[in-house]
């Protein structure tokens, strides 16, 4: 059915009719009976508390939920088919009076009811009409190279190759990415650029609907601005319908036509915190369900004084805020009120001429900052400015590049030295705690209670007392009912609270929190802000990394800004002005806070006035210190050759693999020194001919030069014996024959290993996948699914370092390496499975996985030289085997 048409072309309508969904992990429907009609071209903002089902609604509209994969045997049904409700596995206890019209169980164990249609077609059949952008930019990059990511959607929609790249260029232009090199690596993009890339990837499918699921939650203000501007421009260009889910809506609000507010209604149990928990289902929604509580233009909805936005978990955009919606300094009645920016005056931790960075490369230098007890310091700055690096260094988890982090005598007493990086893990855990941005980097135990007890136990507190401390904290953090629950199964806000609780359990004097409030609704945000404030009033030195202005206000925090070198905007003009003026070391001390104004104006009076008059004041209510850092995301990259040999680099990857196999494997049929030596000599000669000098070959294949002697030694000592006996001891028999076999084994391991390594070393994974698909005709779903998984490798490597750091921070870092390895590997598995599950959603949202033909944006070409290469590779073992036959040394499988 076709709904009202707007003047713009290209928009599609969405219609939810009596729709509902129950996740497999829940006993009750998250949403039921939803009726929502979105005409083509409308820009809708969907608001509601975390966990209310906004993402579920978007996934349904994207056709990713409640669908059955083709050829299923699980007994599910497609949308649109008429079925009676007893088909679904609706559990006892759900309202069974109104028999829902159409219910179907899907392959994820979820149950859907009702219909979702896009332009009158069931959403599942309308993939490609709908583009979805998710919150985590990292999870949506499927390929290494920028251009390939944008081309992925069109490929899945079988756009002919000659038109794919014009789609790509248009989408990139619409999102302000024109001019970016298509082969550029996504690992070198900023958060804002990554998110625009995800948007471009969705736009390249030329969708009629754009669904945005918290697209700016992970971004700094600059990145938010980029993404909002890109969305605005592309919607103007395409006239597409938009449904936006976002907590902080200020930058979006002027393009919104309609606001839909979700809340809970039909309740027998009203409990925002979700008291009902058991080990396997945390059913906060028991007895309630999601429904639309307000629907209208922004003016109508935000002007409705009957709505309690605060308790709905909704942030009211600034222009509509009433007095009660404003975020103010938290009113806590404690004796330390007023100390939050200065603290008690007792310094706990100092950065002294500190330079921070990873792998010895400084990204921010010459920092001198003091942190006092009872003080909240907010470290702010753009994505990639090095906030986390600084914080990890302060926490003793990363070695300073130069300069030092100094603990005050009171903090350092009892520890080895006064530099946190030099402390043992247990010493550190009792003094400085670090709360990671991703709670799952931090979990180390199987239940919530044990998780909180870990800190005290590792710092020498007895079992009984540790349990008492943990219980006290859990009740303060409203987590008592989850004591026995597996930490991983908590909701996002609860996980965040748990990590803070476990950080506090070891009674540290310094607590550092990395983005404690990102992506939270107003209710969970408020809880977190109050907790941080209460920690401060306990006299703890609190350091918060954030780009959340409201948090800075609510905590009354002192602000330290890391400003990117050469970044645009008012902040940069101050920094640059200062650089020309004096401060050679790159620090600009700009302060508008009363007590620091004197110092700052002495240092740099001109900048002072700039800061007062400029945008800085508007962005950061007060900036007490500004540190200049280098930028990472604006450079041009050369295309990386896939081999040091130009000839090898020019070959098709599949042929390189085949050649490598043919050169190496046939040698297995005989174990003798002649065939191995002949092959080895031929290999070095041929490799020299294609530009790889022998020493280069050895350098690239060094691992086999270590492996070969090992294998040879085993054969020498325990090999088949014959001829003269040279040495006998226990099981060892060194004989003429074992010596000969050992030499042959060593040479053969090299002769097999060298071509096997050189042939594939440096192949680009994307090129290999293209070749697997187009040359070897392996199924695309597996080839590109595997490729996308491989891209996670670098992300997981970073996860591994974060896990290592978090274990050190929690007092687990002194353990034996082998003992520590397994729990950490487990955490990595959990992270990787979560990441890949999101990745699957991102890929499906681009139309991947449908049993339809797809096209390829890149050609994997095969030339004559590929065939010649394979022929020559095969010649190596043929010549080697003939030689050994003629020399009479051929021994079938070693005899």
């Amino acid at each position: 059915m076709v709904h009202m048409r707007t003047e713009k072309r290209g928009g599609a309508s969405i219609r939810f009719a009596n729709w509902g969904y129950r996740h497999a992990s829940r006993a009750h429907f998250a949403i039921r009976g939803l009726d929502l009609d979105i005409p083509a071209g409308q820009k809708v903002l969907l608001l509601g508390a975390s966990g209310i089902g906004k993402s579920t609604i978007l996934e349904a509209a994207a056709g990713l939920l409640g669908t059955q994969d083709e050829g299923t045997g699980a007994g599910g049904l497609r949308h649109g088919e008429s079925v009676s409700s007893d088909q679904g596995t609706a559990p006892e206890g759900t309202e069974g009076l109104l028999s829902p019209p159409q219910e179907a169980v899907d392959s994820e164990g979820g149950t859907s009811a009702g219909t979702v249609e896009v332009d009158g077609v069931p959403a599942a059949a309308a993939r490609g009409k709908v583009g979805l952008v998710l919150q985590d930019p990292e999870a949506q990059a499927i390929f290494e190279r920028v251009g390939d990511n944008v081309a992925f959607g069109p490929e899945n929609m079988a756009v002919p190759m000659d038109r794919i790249w014009s789609h790509v260029r248009k989408a990139m232009a619409d999102t302000g990415l024109e001019g970016m090199q298509l082969h550029r690596s996504t690992t070198h993009l900023s958060g804002g650029q990554m998110q625009r890339l995800a948007l471009a990837g969705a736009l390249a499918m030329q969708p009629g609907v754009l669904l945005l699921d918290e697209p700016t939650a992970n971004l700094d203000p600059d990145g938010v601005g980029q993404v909002v501007a890109s969305v605005r421009a592309s919607l103007e260009a395409t006239g597409a319908t938009m449904v936006l889910v976002e907590h902080r809506t200020d930058p979006w609000i002027d393009m919104i036509d309609r606001v839909v507010v979700l809340g809970r209604c039909d309740t027998d149990v009203v409990d925002g915190e979700g008291e009902l928990a058991c080990a396997h289902t945390l059913d906060a929604e028991e007895g309630t369900r999601t429904c639309v509580v307000a629907d209208g233009t922004p003016d109508e909805v935000f002007g409705d004084h009957g709505l309690d936005f605060a308790s709905l978990g909704i942030w009211v955009p600034k222009c509509y805020r009433r007095a009660e919606d404003e975020i103010r300094r938290i009113q806590a009645d404690d004796s330390r009120r007023g100390e939050e920016t200065s603290g008690t005056g007792r310094i706990a931790l100092s950065a002294v001429d500190l330079a921070v960075g990873r792998r010895g490369e400084a990204i921010a230098e010459h920092m001198n900052i003091d942190f006092a007890s009872g003080q909240v310091t907010a470290i702010v700055g753009g994505n990639g400015a090095g906030k986390s690096t600084l914080a990890l260094t302060l926490a003793g988890l990363l070695e300073p590049v130069s300069g030092k982090v100094e603990a005050a005598p009171a903090l350092a007493s009892g520890a080895t030295g006064n530099m946190p990086f030099g402390w043992s893990s247990r010493q550190l855990a009792a003094r400085i705690s670090y709360v990671f941005q991703n709670p799952e980097h931090q979990f180390a135990r199987g239940s919530v209670l044990e998780e909180v007890m870990l800190g005290p136990l590792r710092t020498g507190v007895g079992e009984v007392q540790a349990q008492a401390t943990a219980r006290r904290l859990l009740s303060r953090f409203k987590l008592s009912q989850y004591e026995e629950v597996n930490p991983y199964t908590l909701s996002g806000g609860e996980k965040r609270r748990l990590t803070v609780a476990s950080a506090l359990a070891a009674a540290p004097d310094v607590v550092i929190l990395d983005e404690p409030t990102f992506g939270q609704d107003r209710v969970t945000w408020m809880q977190m802000a109050r907790l941080i404030d209460s920690i401060r009033s306990d006299g703890v030195c609190v350091i918060v990394i954030t780009h959340d202005l409201d948090l800075v206000t609510a905590l009354g925090a002192r602000v330290v800004e890391l400003a990117a070198r050469g970044s645009h905007g008012a902040g940069a003009s101050i920094v640059q002005g200062a650089r020309g003026r004096d401060i050679a070391d790159g620090i600009v001390d700009v302060s508008t806070a009363g007590e620091r104004a004197g110092t700052a104006s002495l240092l740099n009076p001109v900048d002072m006035s700039d800061a007062n008059g400029g945008m800085v004041d508007a962005r950061w209510c007060q900036v007490d210190q500004r540190v200049e850092v280098s930028r990472i995301d604006s450079r041009s990259e050369a295309v990386k050759p896939s081999s040091r040999s130009p000839f090898l680099a020019s070959l098709n990857p599949a042929y390189r693999m085949i050649g490598g196999f043919l050169a190496a494997l046939p040698l297995i049929v005989t174990l003798d020194w002649v065939s191995a030596t002949v092959a080895l000599v031929l290999e070095f000669l041929l490799l020299a001919c294609i530009g790889l000098k022998p020493w280069r070959v050895v350098a690239s294949t060094w691992p086999v030069f270590i492996g070969a002697p090992g294998s040879a030694l085993a054969v020498l000592l325990y090999g088949k014996s014959g001829g003269a006996l040279w040495w006998h001891w226990g099981m060892i028999n060194v004989t003429d024959r074992s010596i000969a076999l050992a030499i042959a084994t060593g040479l053969r391991v090299l002769a097999i290993g060298i071509p096997a390594i050189i042939a594939v070393l440096g192949i680009d994974a994307t090129d290999l996948a293209d070749s697997f698909s187009q040359v070897l005709h392996l199924p695309d779903r597996f080839v590109y699914g595997g490729l996308a998984g491989m891209r996670m490798f670098s992300v997981l490597r970073d996860d591994w370092s974060a896990l290592t750091a978090s274990r050190r921070s929690r007092g687990l870092g002194d353990d034996n390496k082998v003992k520590a390895f397994f729990p950490q590997a487990f955490a990595l598995f959990v992270l990787s499975i979560r990441r890949s599950t999101t990745l699957a959603v991102a890929m499906e949202a681009r139309g991947f996985g449908a049993p339809l033909p797809r096209t390829h944006a890149r050609v994997s070409a095969v030339h004559t030289r590929d065939k010649v290469f394979v022929g020559v590779c095969l010649l190596i073992p043929v010549i080697a085997l003939i030689a050994s036959g003629m020399a009479g040394t051929f021994v079938f499988f070693g005899g």
Partner: protein, 231 residues
């Protein structure tokens, strides 16, 4: 109303928890009559992720080989085979989580290709060939049961068969000069099989149960079975 709801919920929790324990202890897959053997995108993505993490762990385990394997070999020649299970587990793990034909081979191949591209001590393409063969070894048991039976025993057998392949490959590739039935050969065979059964089998089963308890596998019938949810 509230109290009633909570009581109801608690009772149901206790009940399902007991049920769940019983389920885990016995066989987990008696769930569906016909397991869905069609691969979804999430199956592919998670099997790939298992391959990728495994390759990372294979690499880390490679660092342990010399400090641990060499003394073992010095103690009893061939006993260093007990390390081999550390390079065999991707296949069995992917199979018990994803439960689709080819999951074992696929996860191993992803791990193997990644290792080959990164370059490791077993030599480029060789890891790809080994991956295919070891994956097939792991796959046989599950294929024989049509992917319907998935429990501690089948997982252990799967790990053991991957061990058989690993042992056979070693003898073809670099231990041809050693008598298969000599002391070294037998020790190497036995230790590799035990390692495959324990590390790639039993340990993976418990890893899978622990992973499922975190809720990370809720999109899989295998994960929901452990959490006592409707499958």
């Amino acid at each position: 109303m509230l109290a009633h709801g909570r009581l109801f919920s608690r009772a149901r929790c206790a009940e399902t928890q007991q049920h769940r324990k019983a389920q885990i202890m016995s066989t987990i897959t008696k769930d569906s009559v016909k397991p869905n053997l069609h691969w979804r995108v999430v199956d592919i993505a998670v099997a790939s992720a298992i391959g990728v993490v495994s390759s990372l762990i294979y690499w880390a385990a490679g660092l342990l080989y010399n400090p641990i394997g060499a003394p073992l070999a010095a103690l009893v020649p061939g006993l260093d085979g007990v390390m081999n299970g550390l390079w065999l587990f991707a296949g069995p793990l992917a199979l018990i989580i994803v439960r689709k034909p080819g999951a074992g081979v696929y996860a191993e191949v992803v791990a193997g290709v990644l290792e080959a591209l990164l370059g490791n001590s077993w030599g480029g393409l060789e890891t790809v060939a080994m991956a295919v063969l070891q994956g097939l070894g792991a796959e046989i048991v599950f294929a024989c049961t049509m992917y319907k039976v998935c429990n501690l025993l089948t997982t252990m057998l799967s790990g053991t068969l991957a061990g058989v392949v690993c042992w056979a490959w070693s003898f073809f590739k670099h231990l041809q000069g050693i008598n298969l039935l000599g002391a070294y050969g037998l020790w190497y065979l036995v230790s590799t099989l035990v390692s495959g059964a324990l590390i790639a089998g039993v340990l993976m089963w418990y890893l899978y149960v622990a992973l499922a308890k975190t809720g990370a596998l809720d999109k899989f019938a295998s994960g929901r079975a452990v959490r006592g949810m409707s499958v």
